[in-house]
Symmetry: C3
Subunit: 287 residues, 3 copies
Amino acid sequence: MSCNTCETQAIASLCDDIRTLRPLVHCITNYVTVNDCANILLAAGAAPVMADDRAEAAEIASIAQALVINIGTLNERTIESMKLAARAAAKKNIPILLDPVGAGASALRTKTALSLVEEFRFAVIRGNRSEIAVLLGGQGGTRGVDATGQATEADGETAARLAEKTGAVVAVTGAVDYISDGAKILSVSNGHPMMAQITGSGCMLSALLGAWLASGRAAARDAGRAEITGSDLHAAAGGIAAIGLAGEAAARAAGAAGTGSFRVALIDAVSRLDGRTLGEGMRLDAR
Amino acid sequence: MSCNTCETQAIASLCDDIRTLRPLVHCITNYVTVNDCANILLAAGAAPVMADDRAEAAEIASIAQALVINIGTLNERTIESMKLAARAAAKKNIPILLDPVGAGASALRTKTALSLVEEFRFAVIRGNRSEIAVLLGGQGGTRGVDATGQATEADGETAARLAEKTGAVVAVTGAVDYISDGAKILSVSNGHPMMAQITGSGCMLSALLGAWLASGRAAARDAGRAEITGSDLHAAAGGIAAIGLAGEAAARAAGAAGTGSFRVALIDAVSRLDGRTLGEGMRLDAR
Amino acid sequence: MSCNTCETQAIASLCDDIRTLRPLVHCITNYVTVNDCANILLAAGAAPVMADDRAEAAEIASIAQALVINIGTLNERTIESMKLAARAAAKKNIPILLDPVGAGASALRTKTALSLVEEFRFAVIRGNRSEIAVLLGGQGGTRGVDATGQATEADGETAARLAEKTGAVVAVTGAVDYISDGAKILSVSNGHPMMAQITGSGCMLSALLGAWLASGRAAARDAGRAEITGSDLHAAAGGIAAIGLAGEAAARAAGAAGTGSFRVALIDAVSRLDGRTLGEGMRLDAR
């Protein structure tokens, strides 16, 4: 079964909802790409707030519409803040996303990611193949923060298995992205290879998914569209398609100039994206 | 009374003075926009230095021409450094600016901002309406780091009241910016709405004001121009107009492309700005 | 003696080797320019990993092909991580680069840089004249992080003396860059003044040199080219010329627009650079 046009447009419309809702997305993220994460959220119409001190992490999380935890440059201090924030968000049913950056590359990352997944029920876990494999108890073979190997349908199975195990929607992103809630597996084939030539493509996607989750949850509380778009699965797929489509536009606009211009154009494209364009360009499949 | 052409040009000339003076501006700021802050200072002709460890904060502050304290991603460690740096700067009469990012959004931010204002005499306090209201003892309603509501003349009163209370020049920035030393209220109506669609507009302004303060203080030590421009009030107004005018230029140059290009063009515009252009474009009023 | 065409091309070819080898470069660096460092490494074809917690610094360093230590925003916590990482790298003979940002500007920076140089044998130490002078026991006169004065041949002598003292290849970079292993002194006269008008030119160079060192060491393990390019001295000179040539291209492409565009174009130029272009444009001299 392929997602039909109606479903696609309904999902894509969450893109416009973000600009109306302007969800506050609390990110505890790495200092490498934090500026890009803030800018991509603003470009999408959301409001970012970055706050990682243990003295305020819970308080900030509890006023947000989504919490994004990215372990890219984790440390003792921020790991504690991540847990305090996640506890506060969970208590208020605020969706939480985990980006287990570099899980498998060090014992600290693996242990931290596993313990977060153990303790909290995430709305979405998004990583590359290696990182997600590590969360499933595999080896992964992560070499720092980059994915290895080609995307295959096996990634969809990996996503489904971690989804089953954790109760989260799991996204294994790569050349083709696979998203599963354990029951269904969706794939998104938007995107461009240049996204792997800049830092932060994955982090920006995770941040952006915070806004999509907030938007999807809001839609779920409304009537009508809720049955199609009111799930974290569809919100995740929509957000993944959104940045992929923006990557395609950025490559067309600035790819020939180089990776610096591509990065600028990627944020440009997100800032100009609307639901109609996304609906037309989204390459989403279900099986 | 409206600032006359002569005054405006005198203030605007501080813009050129920065390039001659090349003031060293010590920023203890957040890791979200710190790169933008460094680049905007370099674009303006100043020299940034970012140093936040308690073991060196005082030493670095004491060799700077201005200190900028931004609590955007404050933590236990950096709060102590902010105080050590401020003490060192105060001892040497180096102007200090406070950007109380997100005051009102968490008890930690509110408490820290209030305690800084309590302990130190700032040359300038710059924030959005919510943040400044919190420093006055109000509620603010800050939702993280973004301002709410339309700019009104009431913002000028707010600025004046906090200025009276603290002895600082206070700037409430928004669609229209109000700056007061408690006696006079100036308003600046330069700027562009796209500035709110990128992260760091406020932080960059605060960093830039560090350079303007240094430049204004240097002018005050000189004869002649001192009576007009040698005040922190005028330096603050000039710096606010400068980034606003740069925002207008950036919107013309790159606004249609999107927010990523706008951000690049904003730094471009600051790097090309001179006193004559600023004097012609500055929309400064006094009442 | 001037490096002949054959030598130049051999060095320049390391530029292409980086794209084949894709070395993992572990950076413990400052939060001001860390994003630029990651992007320049990706632009060059390398893979960056930023990790600074003491619980994982050694483990990450030991899987990398180069370690870059930049003390730009050092603190108690990261200084310890730098040492743990350096110990792990040294044990596995992984080349380590030191960028002693701001040595001389505070006792903490001077003491940390000196103690790193005391304890570890660096493959490359790269800094501006002031920073390198401080490591030699001089005063330096560093004003934070910017170099002072014009480049002269005396910089070559300074580089040679620190090289002799430490066993590292030492690069004193400025308008003309001098690189020495204690025996030979090379100079590179690529580059553009706009590089000093953005933050991170030096940091990006240091990060990039991590990739060049890895590439040079790999070439040294191969036959044939090893005698010319298989030295850290030549790798350092090649990397310095590479970013200089990219700076020239960036100035032509975007210099007139301003410093924001220049910065984007600099990363663009690195992402498009190949060995042939570098070999043709490299201005390398030996004496």
